[in-house]
Every structure is written in C-alpha cells, then in structure tokens.
Symmetry: C2
Subunit: 337 residues, 2 copies
DNA sequence: TTGAAAGCGCTAACAC
DNA sequence: GTGTTAGCGCTTTCAA
C-alpha cells in the first residue's frame, strides 16, 4: 500500500505538505502542488479512509435510514436514496444504508462509533420514537417529513398541505363543485405519518374556502379497493366531478375502476394526483399532478446537512412549494357532456 | 469520548485485554470478561470505527452497487438492498450504497481507500466494463448476474434459464401447445443483460423439447405496448393458449389488454409470470409465477462474501433453482371452453 | 490468562 | 510557504 509518506518522499516534501495540498487547508505554492499531484498520480496514492477518520474525526460518510413498510411507495424511496448518494458524492461524502428496522440502536451505533458524520432519516412519524435520540446525538441530522414537535430539529418535505390545496384550487378553477380525496391506506393515517393528514387538511381547507362539497377516503392500494371506492363515491356523491388522488399505486386502477362503472376520465371526472412526475407522464393518459419531488428533497437534505457540518445555520423547517402540472386528466366541468 | 483505555482502567485490566474480550480472539477468564462487560456498560463504551479500521485493516463495511436504469424493476432492487443490509448486520457489517453511475472509479475508490472490505455488484452485464477491475481488486466481490466470462469471479442469480423452462413445462403439462414469451424491454436485450437471454433460451429449449410452437417478444412496460403485443399475438398466433411474461410491470396491463380484445385469463389464455412472489400474490387474480427471490439472492450474496472474507472457498457460480407456484392464471387447455 | 508497547496512516498544532 | 512531530483510538505482536 502506498501511503502519504511515500508520496512526500517522491515529491521531495513533507507529509503534512501533501496532506495540506490534498485538503486545501493551507496555501501551497503552485510548483509544489504540481509536484505533489504528479507523485500522487505516479504512485497511485489513495488516502486510507480509516486513518483519515481517526486523525480528523471526520469519516465523510452520511447515514441514510430508509423505511420499508406497507403503504410506502417503493420507487419514491429508491429515487430518494439515489439522489442522496449523488448529492453526497458531490460533497465528497459516501452514504451508509440503514434500515428502519435497526431502530434507535442503529442510529446510536453509527453515530457513537463515529462511522458517520451525520444522518438523514426518512419516513418520520408525527410522534417518532427516534426524535429524542436525534436531538441528543452529537451529530447533525435532517429529517424527511415533519413530526408533531419539530423544534430543535431540521426537517424538510414537500408542503403537502399546500399540495392538497393546490389540487382543489385547480379543480375549482375548472368549475368543479364537488370533490373527493382518495388518500393513503388507513394504516398510514393511523400510524401518524404526517403527510397524509396534511394533504387532507389542505384539501378540506381549500374546498371550504371555495365553497366546494368535499369528502375524504383513505384507501388501500389494491384493484379491489379501487373498485369499492369508485362504487361508493358514485353512489354517495352522484354530483362528484373532481377527484384528488394521493396514493401512487392506486391512480391507474382507480381510473379503470371508474371507467368500468361508466365514468370516464376526464370527460366525466377530472383527476389530479399527488405523485412523481415520472409516473404522471408515463400513464396511458398523462395525469395532471402535483409532483412529489423525491430527488429534490434528497438533494436539498444533503445540502442542509453539509451546511450543518460546516456549522452554518439552517432553517428548522424547509417546505418545498407544490408544483402542479396540468396534463390530460383535468378538464372544465361539463366540457364534453 | 470514552475509549478503550478508559474501559481498561475502570475494569482494572490492560487495553489489550479489553480488545480481546471484545473480539474473542483469545481466551479471557470468565471473571475478567464479566468485569469488562460491566465497565463497558457503565461507561457506554463504543469502539471508534476509524481507529479499528486503521489498526485491523478491516472496516466491516460492504459496498453495494445498485443500478438505476430503464428496464430495471425498482421494487426488486429495493428489496434486494434491504436484504443485503439485513444480512450484513447479522455479520456485524454495514453497507455503503454506491450508484452504478459512479462506475469503475467508484469501485476503485472505496476499495483503495479501504472504506470497504468487499463489494456486491448488481445488474452485471454480459460484457461488463467493471469485470477486469473486479478481478484485479485486492478485495473480494460477489456479482448478481452472470457475465459472459465468469471465470475468476463469484456470481449468483436465479437460474433464469431453468425458470424459462419451468414455465413452459408447466404450460405443457396443462396441455398447451402454442406458447409465447413476452420479455423484457428491447434495450435490456440489447445491452446484454444476461437474464433476458437466459429466460429466452430456457423457454425455447423447453418448448422444442415438448414439441410446442413458441415465439418470443421483447416488450416495453407501457400499457400501449401491452395492447400492441396482445393484438399482434392474437393476430399472428390465433391458436395461442399459453403465455410466459418476464416483465414485472407489464403483467397486469397485459392481462387487461387481452381482456379488451376478448381473451380472458385464464379461461382463454393461461399465463405464468417470472416476478416477485409478493407481486404475484397481490394481483387481482393471483398469478401463477416463478419467483424472483431478491431477498434470498441478497442474503446469499452476503454469505458468500463473508466466506470469502474468511478465506474460505466458495463456488464461482451459484444458480438458485426456480420455484414455480401455481395460482389462478393457469388452467388446463380448453378447460372452460 | 494477561500486559506492555509498537505501530496502523493520517491530520493539525506548532515552529520556522 | 513548508517541515517536525505528537497524537487520533485501536489491534496485535511479543513477552511473561
């Protein structure tokens, strides 16, 4: 193994000069830097990560805790993870993957052993058991999602409340007067995952503000449940013409379920989804949607963490504003009847 | 920070004794071990990962390289990643997440800096640019998938050839005489991802062996393409009664597309998919399938790697035998006509 | 069964 | 602008 002393000897300088040339933590004359660079290349030098971590008390590794439970949309999690890795690499950091399953002990372990410098935690619940630990840890963290008590933490997410409202306003502007929200599976509401409630709140508030009739329906992600909901909505609200869907895998089945009972989208029913743009674009009929910007959230989470590692101050709450893209599933009420 | 010397002093032993008590690399008297354990608990000692890595030249971290490209089924990748993390933790290892995008340089970096002890590489191509590097690296690796030249490497995957054959034999045993394979998107074949060809080979061989008429159709994963394929199959092979689908997101759209043109599954058309069991079970009509056992592959990949790290020998090739589960989409030919 | 002590390879004072 | 050197916290000979 070639080490820093080898490079130093080869370049005719001291080890510390090589170290400083690499870190840029003190000025090096142009000529020296060139010689060092050449030596590094010639010898194929790679600094030993462990030695570095030990001497500098920085591992240059971030922990990413991913969920893997029912009701979570897997492609969103995956895209998020990839964007975190990509963003971390731009800052010369690597990413250690932890599963939710490891729980608090996992977080404590990677923090206390100095395996990682900082943590990103996905799928934060309203009353998350990990919050006290995260607050107490000597390492910075960023949470994806908002708990009930975010004070003292750094949180980021799509502004789901504004997203729910944006969907309703879009439908209202198209003249729809009776709208429904088909939401996440009941278990997601029950375990207090904030975003489900937030969408519901924004949805209801905007509907009230515009004087629309509105109802909310949690729903599982199977075709059978899609059919049930469609039937029930048709029966209970025959005047329904606007639908907001916040349940990624259900969008397509729902459209088909309505079709089966004689309601076409968008002719009879306008539909706005809250889902990744990619999904909305690739649907057979492109879906009007508010984007769930996983990649942006991941990238921004890393930026926040880097700021915190540099002891720069960051906002406690970052809410990304919703972006609604009109596609083919929303039309003015009664436009083709 | 509490360190090993603190524990040693507290327990009234030397640092090396604490170290050995922790690693088990030499016998410690029961009484001493108890005292040390108590001290560790009392002080809340956690060994510093970097210091450990430096002194032992073992980081206890594995690299996992995940793909993120078109044609890869995201839930499979995710489940695989989770199973790797879970298995690695059982062996006291952590997992560093790398994206395909980082390429060879990424592999070299984490290996040469001693950030990781070993590597798992997913989505290996027939002629993968990373193979020479992996062979040359001083760190063990396990590949998911089989390249054209697997010599000198350790590879593991589902036996896709046997899987393709198993599907055909199942259909043949039900009396079907004309079968088709709807496969991965064309780009997957083109870039030489082995499993697509392997399924095709096993499919054709088994069909020939049983004297069945057979055709193969790569297909993208959109509903539109599903419709095209369904129409084309019906037109070109009106006697078709058996279908093998090796394209996860296409299974459902395809069933619906056939339904639209008047072919019901399974009454008119029996269908076997190669897909995760979870997907097959949760479909509206449970799908007869050969399982893609992501979790098993991930777990076994970690086991292989642990053996290699322990300098135990491992087989170069591990092919998991296909497991076919009959569900509701396959019936004897002509059974309800 | 245990201890003493020499590193592991790097960083960051401190000195010039 | 550069060099000297004392650690960083742990593992592992070597010695008893």
């Amino acid at each position: 193994m070639v080490k820093i002393t080898d490079v130093a000897r080869h370049a005719g300088v001291s080890p510390s000069t090589v170290s400083y040339a690499l870190s840029g933590k003190r000025p090096i004359s142009e000529e020296t830097r060139q010689r060092i660079e050449a030596s590094i290349l010639a010898l194929g030098y790679r600094p030993h990560a462990g030695a570095r971590a030990l001497a500098s008390s920085r591992s240059n590794v971030l922990a990413l805790v991913v969920p893997f439970r029912s009701g979570m949309h897997v492609p969103v999690v995956m895209q998020f993870a990839v964007s975190v890795v990509t963003a971390a690499r731009r800052h010369d950091h690597d990413v250690l993957l932890l599963t939710q399953e490891e729980g608090e002990e996992g977080l404590r372990r990677v923090a206390d052993t100095a395996l990682v410098d900082a943590l990103i935690v996905m799928d934060v619940q309203m009353r998350d058991a990990r919050l006290p630990l995260l607050r107490a840890l000597d390492r910075p963290s960023v949470l994806i999602g908002f708990p009930a008590e975010p004070a003292g933490l750094t949180c980021i997410d799509l502004d789901f409340e504004a997203a729910g409202a944006a969907c309703v306003r879009h439908l209202a502007e198209l003249g729809h007067r009776c709208v429904a929200l088909v939401g996440s599976p009941p278990e997601v509401y029950l375990r207090g995952t904030g975003f489900a409630q937030r969408v519901a709140r924004g949805f209801t508030a905007a509907a009230d503000e515009r004087g629309l009739t509105s109802t909310i329906h949690p729903c599982g992600a199977t075709q059978a449940e899609a059919r049930d909901i469609a039937r029930r909505l048709l029966g209970e609200h025959p005047e329904l013409t606007g639908l907001v869907v916040h349940n990624e895998p259900l969008v397509q089945p729902l459209i088909e379920a309505f079709q089966e009972i004689g309601l076409r989208v968008p002719e009879d029913l306008s539909l706005v989804a809250i889902c990744p743009d990619e999904q909305a674009e690739q649907a057979p009929v492109p879906v009007t949607s508010v984007a769930v910007p996983s990649a942006e959230i991941g990238t921004e989470a890393v930026e926040l963490l880097m700021h915190k590692l540099d002891r720069r101050s960051v906002p406690e709450a970052t809410l990304l504003p919703p972006r609604l893209t009109r596609r083919a599933t929303t039309v003015p009420r009664g436009s083709t009847r």
